[in-house]
Protein backbone atom coordinates (compact mmCIF):
# COMPACT_ATOMS: atom_id res chain seq x y z
CA UNK A 1 0.00 0.00 0.00
CA UNK A 2 1.51 3.35 -1.04
CA UNK A 3 2.30 6.17 1.37
CA UNK A 4 -0.21 8.41 -0.46
CA UNK A 5 -3.04 5.96 0.19
CA UNK A 6 -2.00 5.60 3.85
CA UNK A 7 -2.04 9.41 4.23
CA UNK A 8 -5.45 9.55 2.56
CA UNK A 9 -6.77 6.95 5.00
CA UNK A 10 -5.23 8.90 7.88
CA UNK A 11 -6.98 12.11 6.74
CA UNK A 12 -10.29 10.27 6.31
CA UNK A 13 -9.97 8.60 9.74
CA UNK A 14 -9.27 12.00 11.32
CA UNK A 15 -12.39 13.54 9.75
CA UNK A 16 -14.42 10.53 10.81
CA UNK A 17 -13.07 10.77 14.38
CA UNK A 18 -13.90 14.49 14.54
CA UNK A 19 -17.42 13.86 13.30
CA UNK A 20 -18.28 11.48 16.15
CA UNK A 21 -18.53 14.14 18.85
CA UNK A 22 -17.01 17.49 17.80
CA UNK A 23 -17.80 18.62 14.25
CA UNK A 24 -20.36 18.31 12.59
CA UNK A 25 -22.01 15.04 13.68
CA UNK A 26 -23.28 14.35 10.15
CA UNK A 27 -22.68 10.62 10.70
CA UNK A 28 -19.67 10.08 8.48
CA UNK A 29 -18.41 8.55 11.75
CA UNK A 30 -20.87 5.68 11.29
CA UNK A 31 -18.98 2.56 10.19
CA UNK A 32 -21.47 2.17 7.36
CA UNK A 33 -20.09 5.39 5.84
CA UNK A 34 -16.48 5.28 7.08
CA UNK A 35 -15.88 1.74 5.77
CA UNK A 36 -17.04 2.03 2.15
CA UNK A 37 -15.26 5.37 1.66
CA UNK A 38 -12.05 3.84 3.04
CA UNK A 39 -12.66 0.90 0.69
CA UNK A 40 -13.10 3.28 -2.25
CA UNK A 41 -9.76 4.93 -1.40
CA UNK A 42 -8.15 1.50 -1.54
CA UNK A 43 -10.01 0.57 -4.72
CA UNK A 44 -11.85 -2.15 -2.80
CA UNK A 45 -15.41 -0.94 -2.13
CA UNK A 46 -16.69 -4.50 -1.52
CA UNK A 47 -14.40 -5.03 1.50
CA UNK A 48 -15.27 -1.54 2.76
CA UNK A 49 -19.00 -2.29 2.52
CA UNK A 50 -18.65 -5.65 4.29
CA UNK A 51 -16.66 -4.22 7.20
CA UNK A 52 -18.88 -1.14 7.29
CA UNK A 53 -21.92 -3.37 7.72
CA UNK A 54 -20.12 -5.55 10.29
CA UNK A 55 -19.09 -2.60 12.49
CA UNK A 56 -22.46 -0.89 12.04
CA UNK A 57 -23.92 -3.92 13.83
CA UNK A 58 -21.41 -3.45 16.67
CA UNK A 59 -22.41 0.23 16.73
CA UNK A 60 -26.04 -0.74 17.48
CA UNK A 61 -24.78 -2.07 20.80
CA UNK A 62 -24.10 1.47 22.05
CA UNK A 63 -26.03 4.71 22.48
CA UNK A 64 -23.78 7.83 22.48
CA UNK A 65 -25.55 9.54 25.36
CA UNK A 66 -23.97 12.25 27.51
CA UNK A 67 -20.98 11.21 29.56
CA UNK A 68 -21.24 7.48 28.81
CA UNK A 69 -18.06 5.73 27.70
CA UNK A 70 -18.23 3.81 24.45
CA UNK A 71 -15.87 2.42 21.81
CA UNK A 72 -15.19 4.55 18.76
CA UNK A 73 -15.92 2.53 15.65
CA UNK A 74 -15.34 5.18 12.92
CA UNK A 75 -11.52 5.32 12.70
CA UNK A 76 -11.60 1.65 13.78
CA UNK A 77 -13.51 0.75 10.62
CA UNK A 78 -11.00 2.66 8.48
CA UNK A 79 -8.16 0.64 10.05
CA UNK A 80 -10.17 -2.59 9.71
CA UNK A 81 -10.70 -2.03 5.98
CA UNK A 82 -7.00 -1.31 5.56
CA UNK A 83 -6.14 -4.61 7.32
CA UNK A 84 -8.70 -6.68 5.45
CA UNK A 85 -7.98 -5.20 2.02
CA UNK A 86 -4.50 -6.65 1.64
CA UNK A 87 -5.59 -9.96 3.17
CA UNK A 88 -8.63 -10.58 0.94
CA UNK A 89 -8.95 -14.27 0.28
CA UNK A 90 -6.87 -15.24 3.29
CA UNK A 91 -8.19 -13.56 6.40
CA UNK A 92 -10.58 -10.80 5.26
CA UNK A 93 -13.37 -10.10 7.71
CA UNK A 94 -11.78 -11.80 10.74
CA UNK A 95 -8.51 -9.90 10.52
CA UNK A 96 -10.33 -6.63 9.86
CA UNK A 97 -12.62 -7.22 12.85
CA UNK A 98 -9.67 -7.96 15.13
CA UNK A 99 -7.82 -4.78 14.13
CA UNK A 100 -11.02 -2.71 14.22
CA UNK A 101 -12.18 -3.87 17.64
CA UNK A 102 -8.79 -3.16 19.23
CA UNK A 103 -8.69 0.27 17.55
CA UNK A 104 -12.27 0.94 18.66
CA UNK A 105 -11.31 0.19 22.25
CA UNK A 106 -8.32 2.54 22.06
CA UNK A 107 -10.55 5.20 20.49
CA UNK A 108 -13.01 4.93 23.37
CA UNK A 109 -10.22 5.32 25.95
CA UNK A 110 -8.82 8.31 24.06
CA UNK A 111 -12.22 10.06 24.22
CA UNK A 112 -12.15 9.81 27.99
CA UNK A 113 -8.62 11.27 28.08
CA UNK A 114 -9.67 14.09 25.75
CA UNK A 115 -12.56 15.00 28.05
CA UNK A 116 -10.17 15.09 31.01
CA UNK A 117 -7.85 17.45 29.09
CA UNK A 118 -10.80 19.66 28.16
CA UNK A 119 -11.91 19.73 31.80
CA UNK A 120 -8.47 20.92 32.90
CA UNK A 121 -8.45 23.61 30.19
CA UNK A 122 -11.88 24.85 31.28
CA UNK A 123 -10.76 24.99 34.93
CA UNK A 124 -7.69 26.99 33.96
CA UNK A 125 -9.85 29.50 32.09
CA UNK A 126 -12.62 29.61 34.72
CA UNK A 127 -11.89 33.20 35.81
CA UNK A 128 -12.07 34.65 32.30
CA UNK A 129 -15.10 32.52 31.45
CA UNK A 130 -16.97 33.76 34.52
CA UNK A 131 -16.05 37.31 33.52
CA UNK A 132 -17.74 36.66 30.15
CA UNK A 133 -14.65 37.15 28.03
CA UNK A 134 -15.78 36.04 24.52
CA UNK A 135 -12.21 35.68 23.21
CA UNK A 136 -11.25 33.22 25.94
CA UNK A 137 -14.52 31.36 25.41
CA UNK A 138 -13.81 30.95 21.70
CA UNK A 139 -10.17 30.00 22.35
CA UNK A 140 -11.11 27.28 24.85
CA UNK A 141 -13.67 25.91 22.39
CA UNK A 142 -11.33 25.98 19.38
CA UNK A 143 -8.57 24.31 21.41
CA UNK A 144 -11.00 21.51 22.32
CA UNK A 145 -11.77 20.89 18.64
CA UNK A 146 -8.07 20.95 17.76
CA UNK A 147 -7.34 18.46 20.55
CA UNK A 148 -10.04 16.15 19.20
CA UNK A 149 -8.56 16.37 15.69
CA UNK A 150 -5.14 15.37 17.05
CA UNK A 151 -6.74 12.56 19.07
CA UNK A 152 -8.60 11.24 16.01
CA UNK A 153 -5.42 11.37 13.91
CA UNK A 154 -3.43 9.48 16.56
CA UNK A 155 -6.12 6.80 16.94
CA UNK A 156 -6.34 6.34 13.17
CA UNK A 157 -2.55 6.20 12.86
CA UNK A 158 -2.36 3.55 15.59
CA UNK A 159 -5.08 1.58 13.83
CA UNK A 160 -3.26 1.75 10.49
CA UNK A 161 0.01 0.62 12.13
CA UNK A 162 -1.86 -2.24 13.80
CA UNK A 163 -3.34 -3.17 10.43
CA UNK A 164 0.16 -3.24 8.92
CA UNK A 165 1.46 -5.45 11.74
CA UNK A 166 -1.53 -7.79 11.52
CA UNK A 167 -1.08 -8.15 7.76
CA UNK A 168 2.62 -8.86 8.16
CA UNK A 169 2.38 -11.40 10.99
CA UNK A 170 -1.11 -12.93 10.89
CA UNK A 171 -1.95 -13.17 7.18
CA UNK A 172 -0.82 -16.63 6.12
CA UNK A 173 -0.13 -17.81 9.68
CA UNK A 174 -3.51 -19.53 10.05
CA UNK A 175 -4.76 -22.54 8.04
CA UNK A 176 -7.97 -22.13 5.93
CA UNK A 177 -10.26 -23.57 8.61
CA UNK A 178 -8.67 -21.24 11.19
CA UNK A 179 -9.42 -18.33 8.87
CA UNK A 180 -13.02 -19.50 8.52
CA UNK A 181 -13.33 -19.76 12.32
CA UNK A 182 -12.07 -16.19 12.70
CA UNK A 183 -14.59 -14.97 10.12
CA UNK A 184 -17.43 -16.88 11.82
CA UNK A 185 -16.48 -15.36 15.20
CA UNK A 186 -16.42 -11.83 13.75
CA UNK A 187 -19.76 -12.09 11.93
CA UNK A 188 -21.39 -13.99 14.82
CA UNK A 189 -20.32 -11.43 17.42
CA UNK A 190 -21.50 -8.54 15.22
CA UNK A 191 -24.93 -10.09 14.61
CA UNK A 192 -25.34 -10.93 18.30
CA UNK A 193 -24.31 -7.39 19.34
CA UNK A 194 -26.57 -5.78 16.73
CA UNK A 195 -29.58 -7.87 17.76
CA UNK A 196 -29.06 -7.41 21.51
CA UNK A 197 -28.47 -3.67 21.14
CA UNK A 198 -31.59 -3.21 19.00
CA UNK A 199 -33.75 -5.22 21.39
CA UNK A 200 -32.53 -3.10 24.31
CA UNK A 201 -33.67 -0.01 22.38
CA UNK A 202 -36.97 -1.55 21.33
CA UNK A 203 -37.88 -2.79 24.83
CA UNK A 204 -40.90 -4.91 25.67
CA UNK A 205 -43.60 -2.48 24.50
CA UNK A 206 -45.41 -2.34 21.14
CA UNK A 207 -42.05 -1.78 19.43
CA UNK A 208 -41.29 -5.47 19.97
CA UNK A 209 -44.19 -6.44 17.71
CA UNK A 210 -42.90 -4.11 15.00
CA UNK A 211 -39.44 -5.60 15.41
CA UNK A 212 -40.85 -9.15 15.07
CA UNK A 213 -42.80 -8.11 11.97
CA UNK A 214 -39.60 -6.70 10.50
CA UNK A 215 -37.66 -9.89 11.22
CA UNK A 216 -40.36 -11.99 9.53
CA UNK A 217 -40.44 -9.66 6.50
CA UNK A 218 -36.64 -9.57 6.22
CA UNK A 219 -36.43 -13.36 6.51
CA UNK A 220 -38.99 -13.83 3.74
CA UNK A 221 -37.11 -11.45 1.43
CA UNK A 222 -33.81 -13.20 2.24
CA UNK A 223 -35.42 -16.58 1.56
CA UNK A 224 -36.81 -15.46 -1.80
CA UNK A 225 -33.51 -14.03 -3.06
Amino acid sequence: MSLEVQLLLLAWGTLVGLDLVSVPQMMIARPLVAGPIAGAMLGDVATGLQLGVLFELFQYDILPMGATRYPEYGPATVAAVSAAHAATGTLGLGLGALVGLITGMVGGLSLHELRQLNTRAVRRAAGALEAGDPRVLERVHAAGILRDAVRAAVVTALGLVLAQVARAYLAGALPPHGVALLNVAAVGAALAAGTAGTLRLVGRGPGLRWFAAGVVGGTVVAWLR
Partner: protein, 257 residues
Protein backbone atom coordinates in the same frame (compact mmCIF):
# COMPACT_ATOMS: atom_id res chain seq x y z
CA UNK B 1 -34.03 45.38 27.74
CA UNK B 2 -32.76 45.72 24.16
CA UNK B 3 -34.93 46.15 21.09
CA UNK B 4 -35.07 42.80 19.35
CA UNK B 5 -34.04 42.65 15.71
CA UNK B 6 -36.87 41.60 13.37
CA UNK B 7 -36.78 37.95 12.22
CA UNK B 8 -35.36 39.02 8.86
CA UNK B 9 -32.64 41.10 10.49
CA UNK B 10 -31.89 38.37 12.99
CA UNK B 11 -31.50 35.72 10.26
CA UNK B 12 -27.75 36.23 9.59
CA UNK B 13 -27.09 35.94 13.34
CA UNK B 14 -29.26 32.85 13.58
CA UNK B 15 -27.32 31.33 10.68
CA UNK B 16 -24.01 32.16 12.39
CA UNK B 17 -25.29 30.63 15.60
CA UNK B 18 -26.49 27.54 13.70
CA UNK B 19 -23.04 27.08 12.14
CA UNK B 20 -21.45 27.33 15.58
CA UNK B 21 -23.98 24.80 16.89
CA UNK B 22 -22.49 22.21 14.54
CA UNK B 23 -19.42 22.36 16.81
CA UNK B 24 -21.40 22.44 20.07
CA UNK B 25 -19.65 19.40 21.56
CA UNK B 26 -16.16 20.39 20.40
CA UNK B 27 -15.02 21.25 23.92
CA UNK B 28 -17.16 18.70 25.80
CA UNK B 29 -15.77 18.24 29.30
CA UNK B 30 -16.77 16.70 32.62
CA UNK B 31 -17.26 20.06 34.35
CA UNK B 32 -19.51 22.14 32.09
CA UNK B 33 -20.26 19.36 29.57
CA UNK B 34 -21.60 21.21 26.47
CA UNK B 35 -21.55 24.58 28.28
CA UNK B 36 -18.62 26.09 26.41
CA UNK B 37 -20.03 25.13 22.99
CA UNK B 38 -23.43 26.49 23.97
CA UNK B 39 -21.80 29.73 25.08
CA UNK B 40 -19.99 30.09 21.75
CA UNK B 41 -23.22 29.50 19.79
CA UNK B 42 -25.22 31.87 22.00
CA UNK B 43 -22.61 34.62 21.74
CA UNK B 44 -23.55 35.10 18.08
CA UNK B 45 -27.05 36.08 19.21
CA UNK B 46 -25.91 38.30 22.08
CA UNK B 47 -23.84 40.82 20.14
CA UNK B 48 -26.65 43.39 20.25
CA UNK B 49 -26.18 43.56 24.02
CA UNK B 50 -22.66 44.99 23.63
CA UNK B 51 -24.10 48.49 23.70
CA UNK B 52 -26.28 47.76 26.76
CA UNK B 53 -25.24 48.28 30.37
CA UNK B 54 -22.48 50.79 29.76
CA UNK B 55 -19.58 51.17 27.38
CA UNK B 56 -17.77 48.05 28.61
CA UNK B 57 -20.77 45.87 27.74
CA UNK B 58 -21.59 44.65 31.25
CA UNK B 59 -24.91 43.11 30.17
CA UNK B 60 -23.23 41.41 27.21
CA UNK B 61 -20.40 39.94 29.30
CA UNK B 62 -22.77 38.76 32.02
CA UNK B 63 -24.95 37.06 29.39
CA UNK B 64 -21.90 35.43 27.73
CA UNK B 65 -20.74 34.14 31.12
CA UNK B 66 -24.18 32.67 31.87
CA UNK B 67 -24.34 31.10 28.41
CA UNK B 68 -21.09 29.19 28.95
CA UNK B 69 -22.08 27.55 32.25
CA UNK B 70 -23.02 23.88 32.67
CA UNK B 71 -25.36 22.52 30.04
CA UNK B 72 -26.03 19.07 28.66
CA UNK B 73 -28.74 17.93 26.28
CA UNK B 74 -29.05 16.30 22.88
CA UNK B 75 -26.65 18.15 20.53
CA UNK B 76 -29.22 18.57 17.76
CA UNK B 77 -31.72 20.23 20.10
CA UNK B 78 -29.27 22.49 21.95
CA UNK B 79 -30.31 25.29 19.60
CA UNK B 80 -33.62 25.47 21.42
CA UNK B 81 -31.84 26.39 24.66
CA UNK B 82 -29.42 28.71 22.84
CA UNK B 83 -32.22 30.61 21.08
CA UNK B 84 -34.47 30.72 24.15
CA UNK B 85 -31.72 31.91 26.52
CA UNK B 86 -30.49 34.57 24.04
CA UNK B 87 -34.03 35.80 23.50
CA UNK B 88 -34.66 35.89 27.26
CA UNK B 89 -31.46 37.95 27.70
CA UNK B 90 -32.72 40.43 25.09
CA UNK B 91 -36.15 40.51 26.76
CA UNK B 92 -34.54 41.56 30.03
CA UNK B 93 -35.58 38.40 31.91
CA UNK B 94 -33.85 38.36 35.34
CA UNK B 95 -30.51 36.44 35.32
CA UNK B 96 -31.64 33.81 37.84
CA UNK B 97 -34.68 33.06 35.65
CA UNK B 98 -32.43 32.61 32.59
CA UNK B 99 -30.31 30.17 34.62
CA UNK B 100 -33.43 28.28 35.72
CA UNK B 101 -34.64 28.14 32.10
CA UNK B 102 -31.34 26.58 30.97
CA UNK B 103 -31.38 24.07 33.82
CA UNK B 104 -35.00 23.15 33.15
CA UNK B 105 -34.30 22.48 29.47
CA UNK B 106 -31.42 19.98 29.94
CA UNK B 107 -33.56 16.96 30.87
CA UNK B 108 -36.43 17.35 28.36
CA UNK B 109 -34.13 18.20 25.42
CA UNK B 110 -31.84 15.29 26.26
CA UNK B 111 -34.63 12.77 26.57
CA UNK B 112 -36.53 14.02 23.50
CA UNK B 113 -33.39 14.01 21.34
CA UNK B 114 -32.34 10.58 22.49
CA UNK B 115 -35.75 9.12 21.64
CA UNK B 116 -36.22 11.06 18.40
CA UNK B 117 -32.68 10.83 16.97
CA UNK B 118 -30.40 8.28 18.70
CA UNK B 119 -33.17 5.71 19.17
CA UNK B 120 -35.31 6.73 16.17
CA UNK B 121 -34.16 8.65 13.11
CA UNK B 122 -30.52 7.45 13.16
CA UNK B 123 -31.10 3.68 13.48
CA UNK B 124 -34.10 3.99 11.12
CA UNK B 125 -32.09 5.57 8.29
CA UNK B 126 -29.02 3.43 8.98
CA UNK B 127 -31.24 0.32 8.94
CA UNK B 128 -32.59 1.35 5.53
CA UNK B 129 -28.99 1.72 4.31
CA UNK B 130 -28.13 -1.74 5.68
CA UNK B 131 -31.07 -3.19 3.73
CA UNK B 132 -29.90 -1.34 0.61
CA UNK B 133 -26.35 -2.71 0.92
CA UNK B 134 -27.61 -6.23 1.63
CA UNK B 135 -29.81 -6.06 -1.48
CA UNK B 136 -26.81 -5.07 -3.59
CA UNK B 137 -27.29 -1.30 -3.96
CA UNK B 138 -23.73 -0.62 -2.78
CA UNK B 139 -22.42 2.93 -2.50
CA UNK B 140 -25.68 4.66 -3.58
CA UNK B 141 -27.31 3.20 -0.43
CA UNK B 142 -24.59 4.83 1.69
CA UNK B 143 -24.91 8.14 -0.15
CA UNK B 144 -28.68 7.99 0.29
CA UNK B 145 -28.23 7.45 4.03
CA UNK B 146 -25.92 10.45 4.41
CA UNK B 147 -28.26 12.74 2.43
CA UNK B 148 -31.57 11.61 3.95
CA UNK B 149 -30.23 11.49 7.50
CA UNK B 150 -28.75 14.97 7.24
CA UNK B 151 -31.88 16.51 5.74
CA UNK B 152 -33.60 15.55 8.99
CA UNK B 153 -30.56 16.48 11.08
CA UNK B 154 -30.11 20.01 9.71
CA UNK B 155 -33.88 20.65 9.64
CA UNK B 156 -34.12 19.68 13.33
CA UNK B 157 -31.20 21.92 14.33
CA UNK B 158 -32.64 24.88 12.41
CA UNK B 159 -36.16 24.35 13.79
CA UNK B 160 -34.80 24.12 17.35
CA UNK B 161 -32.80 27.35 17.09
CA UNK B 162 -35.63 29.30 15.47
CA UNK B 163 -38.21 27.96 17.93
CA UNK B 164 -36.00 28.92 20.88
CA UNK B 165 -35.47 32.41 19.47
CA UNK B 166 -39.18 32.81 18.72
CA UNK B 167 -40.54 31.62 22.07
CA UNK B 168 -37.81 32.78 24.48
CA UNK B 169 -38.72 32.00 28.09
CA UNK B 170 -42.00 30.39 26.90
CA UNK B 171 -40.02 27.77 24.97
CA UNK B 172 -41.90 24.85 26.57
CA UNK B 173 -44.66 25.61 24.04
CA UNK B 174 -42.33 24.66 21.20
CA UNK B 175 -41.85 21.20 22.67
CA UNK B 176 -45.61 20.62 22.41
CA UNK B 177 -45.60 21.05 18.59
CA UNK B 178 -47.90 18.34 17.15
CA UNK B 179 -45.40 17.43 14.40
CA UNK B 180 -42.67 16.85 16.97
CA UNK B 181 -44.98 14.73 19.13
CA UNK B 182 -46.03 12.64 16.12
CA UNK B 183 -42.44 12.18 14.93
CA UNK B 184 -41.38 11.01 18.39
CA UNK B 185 -44.27 8.56 18.59
CA UNK B 186 -43.60 7.14 15.11
CA UNK B 187 -39.81 6.96 15.21
CA UNK B 188 -39.61 4.06 17.68
CA UNK B 189 -41.88 1.59 15.84
CA UNK B 190 -40.41 2.62 12.45
CA UNK B 191 -36.89 1.99 13.73
CA UNK B 192 -37.90 -1.40 15.18
CA UNK B 193 -39.54 -2.50 11.92
CA UNK B 194 -36.62 -1.44 9.71
CA UNK B 195 -33.85 -2.91 11.86
CA UNK B 196 -35.89 -6.07 12.34
CA UNK B 197 -36.04 -6.41 8.53
CA UNK B 198 -32.37 -5.50 8.12
CA UNK B 199 -30.97 -8.16 10.48
CA UNK B 200 -31.86 -11.31 8.47
CA UNK B 201 -30.81 -9.63 5.21
CA UNK B 202 -27.49 -8.53 6.69
CA UNK B 203 -26.93 -12.01 8.16
CA UNK B 204 -27.40 -13.43 4.66
CA UNK B 205 -25.10 -10.77 3.15
CA UNK B 206 -22.25 -11.31 5.63
CA UNK B 207 -22.47 -15.11 5.61
CA UNK B 208 -22.57 -15.41 1.83
CA UNK B 209 -19.10 -17.01 1.74
CA UNK B 210 -19.80 -19.50 4.56
CA UNK B 211 -20.69 -23.11 3.74
CA UNK B 212 -21.45 -26.34 5.63
CA UNK B 213 -20.11 -26.39 9.19
CA UNK B 214 -19.31 -22.66 9.10
CA UNK B 215 -23.04 -21.79 8.75
CA UNK B 216 -23.95 -24.05 11.67
CA UNK B 217 -21.13 -22.57 13.75
CA UNK B 218 -22.33 -19.07 12.87
CA UNK B 219 -25.86 -19.85 14.04
CA UNK B 220 -24.47 -21.21 17.33
CA UNK B 221 -22.19 -18.18 17.85
CA UNK B 222 -25.04 -15.72 17.18
CA UNK B 223 -27.43 -17.53 19.54
CA UNK B 224 -24.83 -17.99 22.29
CA UNK B 225 -23.44 -14.46 21.89
CA UNK B 226 -26.92 -12.95 22.01
CA UNK B 227 -27.81 -14.92 25.15
CA UNK B 228 -24.60 -13.80 26.87
CA UNK B 229 -25.10 -10.15 25.90
CA UNK B 230 -28.71 -10.22 27.04
CA UNK B 231 -28.20 -11.85 30.43
CA UNK B 232 -24.85 -10.28 31.23
CA UNK B 233 -25.74 -6.84 29.89
CA UNK B 234 -24.30 -5.04 32.91
CA UNK B 235 -20.85 -6.54 32.39
CA UNK B 236 -20.57 -7.67 28.78
CA UNK B 237 -20.47 -5.38 25.73
CA UNK B 238 -20.41 -6.20 22.04
CA UNK B 239 -16.77 -5.11 21.90
CA UNK B 240 -15.71 -7.48 24.70
CA UNK B 241 -17.72 -10.33 23.22
CA UNK B 242 -16.16 -9.75 19.80
CA UNK B 243 -12.61 -9.66 21.14
CA UNK B 244 -13.19 -12.77 23.28
CA UNK B 245 -14.69 -14.73 20.38
CA UNK B 246 -11.89 -13.71 18.02
CA UNK B 247 -9.29 -14.79 20.60
CA UNK B 248 -11.00 -18.17 21.04
CA UNK B 249 -11.33 -18.60 17.27
CA UNK B 250 -7.66 -17.73 16.67
CA UNK B 251 -6.57 -20.19 19.37
CA UNK B 252 -8.86 -22.94 18.05
CA UNK B 253 -7.66 -22.37 14.51
CA UNK B 254 -4.03 -22.50 15.59
CA UNK B 255 -4.56 -25.72 17.64
CA UNK B 256 -6.48 -27.23 14.70
CA UNK B 257 -3.35 -27.19 12.49
Amino acid sequence: MSSLPSPTRARPRLVRSLLRLFTVQGSWNYERMQGIGIGVAEEALLQDLRTEGGADGVAYRAAVARGARFFNAHPYLCGLAVGAAARAEHDGVPPEQVERLRTALCGPLGSLGDRLVWAGWLPFTSGLALIGVALGLGLPAILGFVVVYNVGHVALRWWALRAGWTYGARVAQALREPLLQRATALSGPAMALVIGAALPLVAQYLSGAFFGWARLALAAVVAGGFALLWWQRARLTGLRLGLALLAVAALAGWVWL
